[in-house]
């Protein structure tokens, strides 16, 4: 392909370097695009839900309806269904988690912003850490530290010799693999999605600068880019949902007496 291109430089494929954005203001590391986007997401979410719930009426306005349907989705479909009778005190946390991740993911396809902040791995790590703290804390509070850890490590009804094989796996799963996969799943999905969009859209742009034959191919690249944008929208919603769902499930698991 490179031979066909007239103008000098070859196509530079998008890579992980495209995620390392320079600071916008001055020389400090605290004003990069992902960080500003996270702040923006907090402002957007707060403003939206304050406005939508301010003039709450029995017959809701469109805005109130939108806000309430998101809230009741998290409350009923995630918290109530999964956690059960003691769900109400976890709703604020799960709701924050869901809206925060959703908006930050959606930044990936919103024109001009177009960067999913969750594709920087530190953000999902921190979110997973909060879940880690919440579900272990809840479990210890509910069952007492000794019983809680015993239940994780020693499953009842298993021959004693099997514990040598199994107990390390339980510990590793509960304390390392679960929070890690939680964070990495979100990160990897956002990272890969953004990369995919970059490939097709930058590729389409690059094809436009080639000879006439390549120019004709370019719309297809853009077309796939647009189709993938819709696909990304789906993935972004799904990832926010799965993250919150698994958080709720871990809390439910820590609350339950029997796993």
């Amino acid at each position: 392909m490179r031979v066909l291109l007239r103008s000098g430089e070859g196509f530079v494929p998008p890579s992980s370097n495209d995620f390392e954005l320079p600071p916008i203001f001055g020389d400090n590391a605290y004003t990069t695009k992902p960080i500003l986007l996270v702040f923006l997401s907090v402002i957007l979410i707060s403003v939206f839900f304050i406005i939508s719930s301010r003039k709450a009426a029995v017959v809701p306005s469109k805005l109130q309806f939108a806000g309430e349907s998101i809230y009741s989705f998290v409350r009923n479909d995630l918290a109530k269904d999964v956690i059960g009778h003691d769900f109400l005190r976890f709703v604020p946390y799960l709701f924050t988690l869901f809206t925060f991740i959703l908006v930050n993911n959606l930044f990936g396809i919103i024109p001009l912003l177009q960067f999913p902040s969750m594709s920087r791995v530190s953000f999902p790590y921190v979110l997973a850490m909060t879940i880690y703290i919440v579900f272990h804390y809840v479990g210890i509070r509910k069952q007492g530290a000794l019983k809680y850890f015993k239940e994780i490590m020693f499953m009842p009804g298993v021959p004693k010799a099997a514990y040598i094989l199994i107990t390390p796996l339980e510990i590793l799963t509960f304390f390392v693999v679960r929070p890690l996969t939680l964070a990495l799943r979100l990160f990897a999905n956002m990272f890969a999605g953004h990369l995919l969009l970059l490939v097709f859209i930058l590729g389409g742009d690059h094809l436009l600068q080639g000879v006439i034959g390549l120019k004709l191919i370019s719309p297809f690249a853009f077309g796939i880019g647009i189709a993938l944008t819709f696909f990304e929208f789906m993935v972004q919603c799904l990832q926010a949902y799965i993250f919150t769902l698994l958080a709720a499930l871990y809390i439910a698991g820590a609350l339950a007496d029997e796993h």
């Binding site: 499953m155 099997a162 390390p168």
Partner: protein, 62 residues
């Protein structure tokens, strides 16, 4: 129910992963230590069997 299946899927994935990581890791360490080459394989096999056993205990017994 879709949510239970989703959760079961991810816990099974977690168990399989930790099985391979833990016992495979021990095998790998033994190999490095004793200058052999077969403990990694043994560790991985032990790990995956342990994980499958654990999955059976958790989800297959009911």
């Amino acid at each position: 129910m879709a949510k239970r299946e989703e959760s079961a899927m991810w816990s099974i994935f977690g168990y399989l992963l930790s099985g391979l990581l833990f016992w495979g890791g021990i095998g790998f360490g033994l190999d490095k230590w004793l200058n052999t080459s077969y403990f990694t394989l043994i560790g991985l096999l032990v790990g995956i069997s342990g994980a499958i056993y654990l999955v059976w205990l958790r989800f297959g017994r009911e």
